[in-house]
């Protein structure tokens, strides 16, 4: 079946925010029936461009054309009317409403009077056609990241979408889920949809996209290039505008599998003595029968990197929250350096040197309306930034934040800018600098490189490794299997709230894979 091809032209689009030029004379041609990848470093202007396409931002200069006819969007609705839908990286869902309510919200064809049974059937059909499994009647705040993404995807799909914009769609998915998702993207394209695919994962881009465009510093460095014959290396080089020397390191990825360049040739510090006492321990932790942790035993030693692998939504959130003191387990004990601290609350954990880098940078890690300096001291201003009379020592905060921004190469703002103005990667670097400050004993990082470009991800990994080398215990909770395999001394696999396996380097990939799928019992 052939579909008439519709073309969406981005013609000389520039977007200025005050003096900042986020997009500068961008030119792209997007066709239906194709997957067009847009890649670029953090802050390269990808998100801005996508917002322009989705009607959420108006370009300062330039035009959009659909089949040669200039169009201008005054709202997301205008873009939707022309069949352009966007799946946002941070979802934009109404948390208190159910998945189904979110899916149909704002839909043009929604009748005045809602027949929920009918709507449910409609969405279920769509789910079945795409082999998606989603609890439609649960409020969104109870859903995992993967489920939230399915919700946003369905939201776009029930509308008559000709162009689907996916912003970092696989960032929150596990390798297995991602694989299925990419197949789904391909299917959508063959059915005549135009998919715009924003991603940092180059192997993924090359496997799914027909065409690729590269943005750098807001300009199109590569436009509408066919992906045929393009190697990840050349694409990576193009993306960063240079070829970073460490990317040449000859880590030998097993055949047929591409290790992300950001994970190649990392120096793993030596594993600590397995007889040394653990910094933190979980003993038989239980957090609820449904979706919670069940009888979890866990230990991490000084200088050890322990990874918790598994498909997201298997209890990872409870795990990090129990270990960081945010959540009180219903059963079992939490020990820090041998002392029972169960239920003591996050400030006690914090004081004892536990740091936590949340997977949710925007909601849990930072507040968009705080300055970078305030964000930087959000956790320890009591100890470190207090002047007489209990006021904040702003001078000290500004000074130290400036140092941190320089040391961690945070771009896109100074100590007085608001967090909301930073791109995801830069925000992550800022948050990492906050958690690494002082003398942490244990750092819990949850999806630390999610949505980051190669450079930023590499930087984050190196910082984690150097913290471990200086004797800090690291708990890496990640759904990126390659990441956990490359960085961990010890690997736990979590499945449906239970620890399925614990293994030491060198890891048996097939065994880990089976444990992630819940196939193998035995710890």
């Amino acid at each position: 079946m052939t579909h008439p091809v519709t073309t969406l032209n981005v013609h000389g689009v520039s977007v200025h925010f005050g003096e900042v030029v986020a997009c500068d004379d961008v030119n792209l041609t997007l066709n239906t029936g194709e997957v067009h990848a847009v890649v670029g470093e953090n802050g390269a202007g990808k998100s801005t461009l996508m917002h322009v396409l989705a009607g959420a931002l108006r370009p300062t200069l330039g035009t959009l054309q659909v089949d040669g006819v200039p169009v201008s969007f005054r709202s997301a609705q205008d873009a939707q009317d022309l069949g352009i839908s966007m799946v946002y990286q941070n979802f934009r869902l109404v948390e208190r409403l159910t998945a189904l309510e979110n899916i149909v919200l704002g839909w043009k064809k929604l009748p005045r009077r809602l027949n929920w049974r009918h709507l449910e059937t409609l969405v279920k059909e769509q789910c079945e056609a795409l082999q998606l499994d989603l609890p439609l009647h649960r409020p969104v705040f109870e859903l995992s990241a993967g489920e939230k993404q399915k919700t946003t995807l369905l939201r776009a799909l029930i509308r008559e979408t000709r162009f689907l914009i996916l912003d970092e769609p696989t960032a929150v998915l596990t390798p297995h889920e991602a694989q299925r998702f990419l197949a789904l993207v391909n299917r959508l394209a063959t059915q005549g949809m135009g998919v715009i695919f924003v991603s940092h994962k180059l192997p993924e881009v090359l496997s799914v996209a027909n065409r690729v465009s590269v943005l750098r510093h807001g300009r199109t460095l590569l436009s509408n290039h066919s992906t045929q014959g393009l190697s990840p290396a050349s694409l990576a080089a193009c993306m960063v505008g240079e070829v970073p020397t460490e990317l040449h390191s000859t880590g030998d990825p097993s055949p047929g599998r591409m290790l992300s360049p950001s994970l190649q040739g990392l120096d793993l510090p030596e594993a600590p003595d397995p007889k040394s006492p653990p910094i933190a321990e979980l003993e038989g932790v239980f957090t609820g029968a449904e979706g919670g942790l069940r009888d979890v035993h866990f230990a991490v030693r000084a200088g050890e990197i322990v990874a918790l692998a598994g498909v997201s939504g298997n209890g990872q959130k409870d795990f990090v929250e129990v270990l960081s003191g945010l959540k009180r387990p219903q059963g079992g004990r939490v020990r820090l350096e041998g002392d029972d601290v169960t239920g003591k609350g996050p400030r006690v954990f914090q004081k004892r040197g536990v740091r936590y880098l949340s997977e949710d940078r925007y909601d849990e890690g930072a507040h968009p309306e705080l300055t970078l300096a305030e964000t930087s001291f959000l956790k320890d201003y009591r100890q470190r930034a207090r002047s007489p009379f209990h006021l904040l020592n702003r001078k000290l905060m500004a000074f130290e934040t400036k140092e941190r921004l320089r040391a961690f190469d945070v771009r896109g703002g100074n100590e007085n800018s608001l967090c909301g103005s930073l791109s995801g990667g830069n925000l992550q670097k800022l948050l990492l600098s906050r958690e690494l400050a002082g003398t942490p004993k244990l750092i819990i990082v949850h999806e630390p490189a999610q949505g980051l470009d190669l450079h930023a991800a590499r930087f984050v990994y190196e910082q984690i490794l150097s913290a471990a080398a200086s004797g800090c215990g690291i708990v890496l909770v990640s759904s990126d299997l390659e990441e956990t395999l490359a960085l961990a001394h010890t690997l736990y696999v979590l499945y449906r709230g239970k620890i399925m396996s614990v293994s030491q380097r060198p890891f048996q990939r097939p065994a880990v894979g089976r444990a992630m799928a819940g196939l193998e019992e035995g710890v």
Partner: protein, 309 residues
Amino acid sequence: MNASFMENLLSAGVERSLPLFYAATGETLSELSGVLNLGQEGIMLASAMTAVAVSHTTGSAMAGLMAGMAMGGAMALLHALLTVTLRADQVVAGLSLVFVGTGIASVGGAGLVALRQGVPHFEPWAIPLLSDIPFLGNVLFNQVPLVYAAYLMIPTIHWWLGHTRAGLNLRAVGENPAAASAMGLSVTRLRYLYVVVGGVLTGLGGASLSLAITPGWSDGLSNGQGWIAIGLVIVGGWRPWGVALAAFFFGTLQRLTLDLQGSQSEFLDSPLVGLFLRMAPYLGAIVVLVLVTRFKKRLGAPEGLGKPA
């Protein structure tokens, strides 16, 4: 306490809760759209006065009611203009609305005080058959027509929130304006709409006060009920049924204190006890609020409440 005391109390409680119910329901709609309107007291006063003035001039209580609602809508429109378009702080704008409303009511109502009860107003109308039911008939179905309108309004709004497109849009826009906007809804339009609709309902509450509960105008007629209404929204958990029950509870409580003061007991008639009795509803409001916050994990306040779009 005998049965007829109970019957009279509950019957009067239903009547008393009427202004609270309308104001609190209006506030609920406004807050669901994400706009906190602290101006309820001012809106109620201004619309109560307007209702009396128009009812007196035209000789029609119905015209007075309409005028009161229009006044409420107009004042809420001012609130929407300040908070949605001009992005003023919702708390500050709401508080200033109280002063505006109180001022309008005092100035406009100066000549109306002398009218006392001589204005056309609503009389109770017993529903045939239903009002013959023992006890309940007198409590529920021997009331002013405005009460019956409220009976219809509660399930209607409940159904409307859950089963219509507009209801869904309203729930979304107050929770997450950014998401609603990304889905193509006009946050500005929705907020204007529901702030004004909320104001019309509050105006209805004010008018019911001066045209049905205590006919006629006197300065400060609403006596803090606008403030209680805002509390009731929280107690009622931003749900129509909850708000209605909370309004009934407080209306009855208010009435109870009046009844107790009017009794022939020497103890209850002493000035000190009288003061405490008059304080009781407000004290009750605080206690219930504390209980509600204590025992309900997620209170249910719209996430986007108070935030500009």
